[in-house]
Symmetry: C2
Subunit: 261 residues, 2 copies
């Protein structure tokens, strides 16, 4: 069996497995997604560490700090250095104030905690827009075809952002939160606008919907289901929540008026 | 649309959604999994909060504290009180020592953090056992048929523990970690033995494999894939790691000798 550790920057590794059936066994090659720890520092203060797929790490650094409530709006981040040994150093024009009470979230993701204040607080108005059904079809198809990593490893989630008639950014990660954090990071770094639709392959639990609504994204879509609290937050923020999204059908749990069929 | 908040103890809520297609829209009833915050206290000290599916909360309290490194072996937990307002109070015969450096994990789960020490430390020997293929088939079938909540909501993960020729415990949660934590909690509360096989519907990222191996479970199975670090931890601990597990086939990434075909 392969014993070579993955190279830096590599996203998958090959491994010989043993397929066992009632009638015997055989060897098989499998691809595994690389999961590796990175610590995130803000203005030289260590904020946390997370397991990540090592790509889109600048965006992840910014998005992670947004998810935790340290960074709030685009423009605050000044510089990001990614050290391949496992550190993302973010420099931003913010004061570091520890969130008082945090809730560890149920999500498949790296961020993993939100403050009670964020969960219960009011929302700023979303950045209004609508999306047509042909746009939704193209968006979903493009996200699902953007990378072979999902079908290859069965161990990553994908997330894309659509606006101005095209897929603006797409990221993947071993955690569904991390993939969303990378997209939100791209918004914070001025590489994309929140005035659009986000699509994730992961479930829309509370924390997932919360951070998308906090950054102002009006249309939140998922390949799969929301939870009760994910829906509650969509309703409170006014965001469109579209689940079980397919190129030919979406199941809208809140604010269907932003989808023009 | 339904505006009634879920009742205490309820695990799903019904909601009327709008299915939008290119040719028009129609209403549809959907079931959502209930996601609700619970705080966990150990000996009256607040340790953390997590979003959970509100069932199996005693087990969750014990398993959560194990995942975070506060509780280490069965027998330490003395009493658990679950307050439906959102608090799990665990009393245990342990000193509360804060983990020094924590890594927020990539997993779809509530626990969401592990200490660097746990990730890099040595493992105690696992509780040895083997499993036959007919047992695996029965185990997987029973877990997948144990509850309608998964197919109903598409928003929960299931986890079961098999030993002595039968399914000992089964739990579900909105987080894949939480479902595993509930099973580990059952072991800590003396309701089941670690000397067996665990099966989860969730991916086997590092933290998932780590806590199963730490508690001594020798056979770790998943419906889906492991990550690179999940495999590395299985190899380091010596645990059998069986992925893509189906009633007629499992794909063994480590220690296939515990599976007797």
């Amino acid at each position: 069996m392969s014993k070579i550790p993955p190279k830096s920057g590599q996203l998958t590794m090959s491994y010989t497995t043993t397929v066992v059936t009632p009638s015997g066994s055989r060897f098989q090659e499998e691809n595994l997604a690389i999961e590796t720890p990175y610590s995130i520092a803000l203005n030289d203060e260590n904020i946390g560490s997370s397991m990540v797929l090592p790509i889109g790490l600048e965006e992840f650094g910014a998005g992670f700090l947004f998810g935790q409530g340290y960074i709030k709006i685009p423009g605050e981040v000044k510089e990001i250095y990614v050290c391949p040994e496992g550190r993302i150093a973010v420099y931003a024009d913010v004061d570091i104030i520890e969130p008082k009470e945090v809730i560890i979230t149920s999500g498949c993701g790296g961020t993993g905690k939100i403050s009670k204040e964020m969960l219960e607080g009011a929302f700023d108005p979303l950045q209004e827009c609508t999306i047509t059904f042909p746009e939704i079809s193209t968006f979903i198809r493009q996200v699902l075809q953007a990378s072979p990593l999902g079908p290859d490893t069965h161990c990553v989630h994908g997330c894309g952002l659509w606006n101005d008639g095209r897929l603006q950014v797409f990221f993947e990660d071993v955690g569904r939160h991390n993939a969303v954090d990378k997209v939100l990071g791209a918004i914070l770094l001025g590489k994309a606008s929140a005035r659009g639709a986000i699509y994730t392959t992961g479930r829309l639990t509370s924390d997932m919907v919360l951070k998308c609504a906090r950054i102002g994204i009006p249309i939140i879509m998922s390949r799969t289901a929301p939870s009760s609290l994910g829906l509650a937050i969509a309703r409170r923020s006014g965001a469109t929540l579209a689940a079980y999204a397919r190129p030919d059908k979406v199941n809208v749990f809140n604010a269907p008026e932003r989808i023009i069929s």
